[in-house]
Amino acid sequence: MTQSLASDITTGPNQGDFDYSQKRIDDASSQLQVPLKTIDLSVGFSHSTILNEISLSFPKGTITALVGPTGCGKSTFLRTLNRMNDHVRGFWHKGSVVLDDVNIYDKSVDPLVLRRNVGMVFQRPNPFPMSIKDNVVSGVKAHKLAKRKDLLAIAESQLKEVGLYDAIADRMDDSPFRLSGGQQQLLCLARALAVGPEVLLLDEPTASLDPVSTSSVESLISALVPKLTIVIVTHNLAQARRIAQHAAFFFNGELVEHGLAAQVLEDPEHETTAQFVTGRMG
C-alpha cells in the first residue's frame, strides 16, 4: 500500500518516464552498479581548495558513510553531490559528478530536477513554517508530482513510512515546531522521501538528536536500502559501523581510503585512517 503510492510518484530514471537530460546514456549494467560517482572532483571557494581530485563511487542500494575529522571537506563534498554549493559565492569545481552516466554539472542538467532525484537531509531539523501535512508534501506540490486531492494520502503514507504517523495522526494540521527534535527530523526525512529521490544525502542527520531519536532515525535509514542509495556524513564512528556498508575516509581535502565499511573502519590500510578510527585523532 505504502509502497505502491510511493512508486506512483517515484519517477526516477529506472521507471524511465522522465529523462532529466537528453545526454543520458542508457547503460543498464553500469547504473545498476553505481548510480552516483565522482571523477577527479576538485572543489573550492575563490582561491582556496577544499577537496582535491576525489574519485569515489556509491554502489546502488547501499549506505556509504563519509568520515573524517572536522574541516576535512566531507560536508562540502556531500553538498557538491546535489549542487547545493552553486549558491555559495566563489564556488568552483573541476572534474565531474556522474549521476546515471550524466555529469550533473553539465549545462543540460537542471539543478531543480537534480535535487528532486538527489534528496538531502541536514544536521538540524528544518521544518518549514506550515502545517505538518504541508511540510511533507511541500516538494510534491512544488514539482506538481501529484493531484491536489491525493496530497493528504501521500502525506499519510510518507509519515507511515518514517514511522511518525501514529504519533501525530490527529495533528496533521498543527505546526511542526511543537514536535520533538527527533520527530522533526523524521518529518524532514519524510519530506525528502516524498518527492521520490533516487539518492539521499544525509549531513550528520542525528548530530542534534538525543540517543532514542537517533536510534529511530538510524533504523529508518537502514530500512531505506536497498530501495535508495544513501550517502551519510557522520562524526559518530559507531553509527557508521552500525548502518553503513561502505565507508570513505577524508583527511585535509583528500580521499585517503575507501571500501567496505568493515574494512575501512575496523582494519584500515592507511596509518592516518587507523589513527582516526582508533580515536587517536580528531
Binding site: I9, T11, D110, L112, V113, A142, H143, K144, L145
Partner: protein, 292 residues
C-alpha cells in the same frame, strides 16, 4: 504528473518575481533621485552664496541666514534636552531597573513615538504657548520636539547597551568596581557609538520637522534671542512651507533653496552616523576576526 512545461512555468515565474523585486528597488531609488533632482534643479539656478548670509524679507525675499541659525539652535537644544532624557531613560530601562519592571515604561515610550507630530504641535500651542503664556518661543519648540524624539533616543540607547556582552559587566564587577564605575567603563563606553548614532539620527528627524514647530516656535526673520520664552524663532522648514506658493519674486526659489539645505544637512548627519559606526568598528578588537 511531472512535466517539462510545468518546470518551465516555475522557472519563468521565478524570473518574473525576481524581476519584480528588482523593479521595487527602482521604485525606491528612482523617486528619491527624482526628488533630489527636482528640488536641487529649482534651487541651483538661483544659487548665491549670499543667501546664507542675508536675512529673510525685503523686496527680493532676502536670504536664509536667521533661519539656518534658528534651525541649528533648535537642534542643539533638542540634542541637550532630548539627549539627556532619552539616554537617561534608555539607561534606566536597559540597565538599572529591576528585572521585568520596565515593560510599561518601555511600551509607553514606544507608543509615544506613534503620536502624530501635528497632535504634539497642536497641544504645544494650546498648552505651552497660550495656557502657560510662553508665547511663540524656543522653550515651547524644544519641549514639543523633545517629546517627539526622546522615544527614538531611548530605544537606540537601550539597544546599544543590550548589545554589550554580559561578560564585560561581569569582568568589571569581578574587578570590584562599583555599579556606577561598571556602568561608565564596561557598559556606556562600549555602547557609546550606538548611542551617538541614535542621537544623530534623532537630530536629523527633529531638524526636518515642521508640524510641531509651526505653532510653537512661531516665525521670525530675526536671529534667535537669548530668551527661552516670548521670543519666536525662525527655522528652515518654515521657509519651505510658507514660501513655495508665494507670488513674491524669489519666494519659490527661497523655498527650494531651504529644502536643498535641509537635504544636505540631513545627508551629512546620516553620513556622520555611519562614520561613527565605521570608526568605532575599526578600533574594535573584534575587527581582527574578520567580516560580519
Amino acid at each position: 504528473m511531472f512535466s517539462k512545461s510545468h518546470l518551465l512555468r516555475r522557472k519563468i515565474l521565478d524570473k518574473a518575481m525576481w524581476a519584480l523585486a528588482t523593479f521595487s528597488l527602482v521604485c525606491i531609488v528612482a523617486p528619491l533621485a527624482w526628488l533630489v533632482w527636482g528640488v536641487v534643479g529649482r534651487a541651483l539656478p538661483h544659487w548665491n552664496w549670499s543667501l546664507l548670509t542675508t536675512k529673510p524679507g525685503g523686496a527680493n525675499g532676502g536670504g536664509l541666514s536667521t533661519l539656518i541659525v534658528g534651525t541649528l539652535v533648535i537642534t542643539a537644544g533638542v540634542a541637550v534636552v532630548a539627549g539627556i532624557i532619552g539616554i537617561g531613560s534608555g539607561l534606566y530601562l536597559s540597565e538599572l531597573c529591576p528585572e521585568g519592571k520596565g515593560k510599561i515604561l518601555r511600551t509607553a515610550s514606544e507608543v509615544l513615538s506613534g503620536v502624530p507630530a501635528i497632535v504634539l504641535g497642536f497641544l504645544g500651542y494650546t498648552v505651552l504657548v497660550v495656557e502657560f503664556k510662553w508665547g511663540f518661543s524656543l522653550g515651547a519648540a524644544l519641549v514639543v520636539l523633545s517629546i517627539m524624539v526622546v522615544p527614538y533616543i531611548a530605544k537606540a540607547t537601550e539597544v546599544a547597551i543590550l548589545q554589550v556582552p554580559t561578560a564585560f559587566r561581569e569582568a568589571a564587577e569581578g574587578l570590584g568596581m562599583t555599579r556606577w564605575q561598571t556602568l561608565r567603563r564596561a557598559v556606556l563606553k562600549p555602547a557609546a557609538p550606538g548611542i551617538v548614532t541614535g542621537l544623530i539620527i534623532a537630530l536629523a528627524i527633529a531638524m526636518g520637522e515642521t508640524a510641531p514647530l509651526l505653532y510653537t516656535a512661531g516665525a521670525s526673520n530675526n536671529f534667535p534671542t537669548s530668551h527661552i520664552t516670548h521670543s519666536p524663532v525662525g527655522f528652515l522648514t518654515y521657509a519651505v512651507w510658507t514660501d513655495y506658493n508665494q507670488p513674491l519674486a524669489g519666494s519659490a526659489e527661497l523655498s527650494a533653496t531651504a529644502a536643498v539645505l535641509l537635504l544636505v544637512i540631513v545627508l551629512m548627519l546620516i553620513l556622520l552616523s555611519r562614520l561613527v559606526i565605521r570608526v568605532s568598528k575599526k578600533y574594535s578588537i573584534n575587527n581582527s576576526h574578520g567580516g560580519r
